[in-house]
């Protein structure tokens, strides 16, 4: 097998001989340019924000002298963490007996591939099963010139080489949002440039509105929606970064911004060039490798390529690290002889702003659309963190949890949380969805008091389900 993101490899004790072909650094994006360093920076920004919030501190009766930060120290925290995790990972792999082959991987044919410096040279090897997990890179739309200094992508931003006074963030999805959290906590002012009419388009609209009220309005952030950045010129000769904005629909020029820096957070593009896919007649769609629900690669004729799988960002199904991990585990199960299909609706997602946002399943509009098509009723239950003792003790009562469910059978369609530790709290809901647990069963589960998990307890208890659970296994509605 050859794999590039080694996230889940440590979980393959099925006795399969495994090798990884790694063209860059072990750990891939997550460890080196994604999850790990960004969470380190967000940890810093969270604390910085708390310490600087004099009003908040006063409400506890605390006095904090002017809080400051050392940029290099912050950057080091992120870099050191990435290095540590990278070496831990490498050691774990070695300990499991995984071979790490350095070089660029190219598929030559079914079950045959080579690795090396790319081009014509390289060592050819054969493998029983091949998994492509080459991941993604930051997407830079055309017209935007990235110079790595004043116009940057998340790769550069995570190194935190400097903190600009004013940074424009192109894209208001979770990456842009997390970076706005980091930069505003460190003293920058932020302008969002969003192509759609709503900020944070991927979130449930109600959560998005609340998030905007808490994460954007009170902070030194303004925004332009419904516009594209058609041209971005890096800073030169003392002139600031120039961003030309055009209307997203009419393409008419709208404005020109002059800022100190621009961060491109418009999404990620799959990294599938040079894999030799043409040798097995596989065509990428917008760069993504087509796969079925079992992660098996589909060739240009619509037929499955035997023994070839693709997981993670490269297949575009759900561009999250733990989704890639889950897909990988699904593949390993299949390779070991047990069939497995991953339920993507049970995979949670989180945005690590302060407060955090998390979600699993469908948003309310998606649920209502599905309900209309399939003919069932949808109900929504909501609770506020204001009612939670622990949240109030922490003076973090600002938050909302939302449950979207079917009142006829108690099925959980989606859960969205905005508030303190939302990213940790979501798992109760995602577990329930993964196991098919219904609300009428889960609402009797006991939650420790006082903890934030009681927010979810409230949600489940307040849901009005027409079916009650009985000790005898109830007939499952098909």
């Amino acid at each position: 097998m050859f794999i590039n993101t080694a996230m889940f490899l440590v979980r393959t004790p099925n006795g399969l001989k495994t090798a990884i072909i790694e063209g860059d650094v072990v750990g891939g994006t997550c460890v080196n340019r994604g999850c790990v360093p960004s969470k380190a920076l967000l940890a810093v920004s969270g604390r910085m924000r708390e310490l600087q919030n004099e009003h908040h501190m006063k409400s506890f009766g605390l006095q904090v002298a002017a809080a400051g930060y050392d940029r290099q120290g912050v950057a080091d925290h992120a870099n050191n963490l990435a290095s540590k995790i990278r070496s831990n990972l490498t050691n774990s792999l070695k300990a499991l007996g995984v071979d790490i082959l350095t070089g660029v991987g190219t598929i030559l044919g079914p079950q045959t591939l080579k690795y090396g410096k790319g081009g014509s040279g390289g060592t050819a090897i054969t493998a029983k099963d091949i998994i492509i997990a080459t991941g993604s890179v930051p997407l830079v739309p055309k017209g935007i010139e990235v110079d790595g200094k004043s116009v940057i992508t998340s790769d550069h931003a995570l190194k935190l080489e400097y903190v600009p006074d004013w940074i424009a963030i192109v894209g208001s999805g979770y990456i842009g949002l997390e970076f706005s959290d980091v930069y505003t906590a460190l003293g920058s002012e932020v302008t969002f440039i969003e192509a759609l009419d709503q900020l944070m388009p991927g979130f449930d609209p109600e959560i998005g509105k609340l998030a905007q009220r808490v994460l954007i309005n009170p902070r030194k952030i303004d925004y332009h929606t419904g516009v594209f950045a058609s041209k971005i010129t890096p800073a030169k000769d003392g002139k600031p970064v120039q961003i030309e904005l055009i209307d997203a629909k009419t393409k008419e020029p709208k404005d020109v911004l002059e800022v100190d820096a621009a961060l491109i957070a418009t999404g990620r593009a799959p990294f599938t060039q040079g894999l030799g896919l043409e040798n097995i007649n596989v065509q990428t769609q917008r760069g993504f490798i087509p796969v079925d629900e079992r992660m098996r690669v589909i060739d240009a004729n619509g037929k499955l390529v035997p023994r070839l799988y693709c997981i993670g960002d490269a297949n575009g199904k759900m561009m999250l690290a733990h989704a890639a991990s889950a897909q990988g585990i699904s593949v390993v199960e299949q390779v070991s002889g047990k069939d497995h299909v991953l339920n993507h609706l049970s995979i949670p997602a989180a945005c690590f702003t302060h407060p955090e946002i998390s979600m699993v399943g469908l948003t309310e509009p998606q649920a209502r659309e599905k309900a209309e098509k399939e003919g069932f009723e949808v109900s929504v239950a909501k609770t506020s963190f204001k009612a939670n003792t622990k949240a109030l003790a922490e003076n973090e009562g600002e938050g909302l949890a939302k449950l979207i469910y079917r009142p006829d059978n108690g099925e959980i369609l989606g859960v969205h949380i905005f508030g303190l530790h939302a990213a940790d709290l979501i798992h109760e809901a995602s577990n329930a969805i993964a196991m098919g647990t219904r609300i009428q069963e889960i609402k009797f589960a006991v939650h420790a008091h006082p903890t934030l998990s009681e927010v979810l307890d409230e949600l489940f208890k307040s849901a009005k389900v027409k079916v009650t659970s009985s000790p005898v296994a109830e007939p499952v509605s098909v």
């Binding site: 302008t191 020109v256 506020s384």
Partner: protein
Amino acid sequence: MAHSHLLQSSFIPTAPASLRRRGVCAAPVRQRTHLIQSKIREIFMPALSSTMTEGKIVSWIKSEGDKLSKGESVVVVESDKADMDVESFYDGYLAAIVVDEGLSAAVGSTIALLAETEEEIALAQSQKPSSASVSVPPAANNDAPKAAEEIPTPVAAAATPAVKASVGALGSAVHPASEGGKRVVASPYAKKLAKDFGVDLRGIVGSGPNGRVVAKDVEAAFAAAKLSGGSGGGATVASEAAEAKPSGVELGSVVPFTTMQSAVSRNMVESLGVPTFRVGYTITTDALDALYKKIKSKGVTMTALLAKATALALAKHPVVNSSCRDGKSFTYNSHINIAVAVAIDGGLITPVLQDADKIDIYSLSRKWKELVDKARAKQLQPNEYTTGTFTLSNLGMFGVDRFDAILPPGTGAIMAVGASQPTLVGTKDGRIGLKTQMQVNVTADHRVIYGADLAAFLQTLSKIIEDPKDLTL
């Protein structure tokens, strides 16, 4: 926020003009030519749950002057359960915000006014009840002179050059990319502040890179605009806005008393039933001023010094600290609590320095600062303003040389303090000299305090002030 509509109106020169026009003849003509009468509608505080009796405005999603469509969220209200968005039921313009962010209103009360057309925005704003009794006074520096003794004249003097500079720079934003003042380049926070303060970005000179307008430029412009109202130099900058005095007074209108104003009025009328007399005294304050200079850095204020001196004098003359509660007996108070009259936006309150004779001057000053802050924020507890046994009222910061105060009911005496001024005096040895003197005037209840008592008290007070070493004990 409470003044924002005023500042806004000063930058929209047409607003007052349209008001004038409407008043003359526009109204009747309108009614005849338009079939549908445009109305100013009220937006009410909704009942968001069956148990809700009042709600707090968390934030206004729309600002005054914004266009509203039916069904669009206008404001976020906090109920007893959660925050909810409230939608507008009509199309129109948000003409005036009656209840600001952070304040509460009863369910069913008016929280904003909606005008159907843009012209009516100004009309709606004139209907907005001025100085609502729940309004939080803006942290304006125009309140400072009245509350604390620290004379703000040095501050005003420093601000006037800034005002002239900003006025001169109006319209000539030096920015390479602004294309001769057409486009404004301002940072996000600067834009937010400008919106909150109602300041026009175009008139601000930017100090950021490439002439960008940054937050502190907006803050400086705002501070300058507030003070320039009285300086007379700024022709366009906020000259129509009220001078640095309590604004919102609509001439020719009838404004009912707020709760506080009703209380003041009641007390003053009640005082008419008390037989009072007045005794004046001139006190030389050179020594006191010198002492003040020395310990000012430790946070001591003139108010605290005067209160302490008064308290020490009262300790020696307990009858002046007494009152006549029932018309037939002396009530000798066991504590000496000096109440100091403080003017706050829309009213008057008397925070009390308890046991002023026993507490050292530094603690007294600290306590005083605390009380003033609370008074300004309208957060004084009743026991912090009703327990005075003797009252001090100082109008010296306005240059008043002498006045007499009205006796608050329940107390025996009130002392009115005038400004200390350098005065030519004839000394005992036949020479002429210059001394700094202030006039104090005590009004007292003659049922319990007699002329000789009062005179003796004032003599003691004058001795304490002229030789103030005991004040720092």
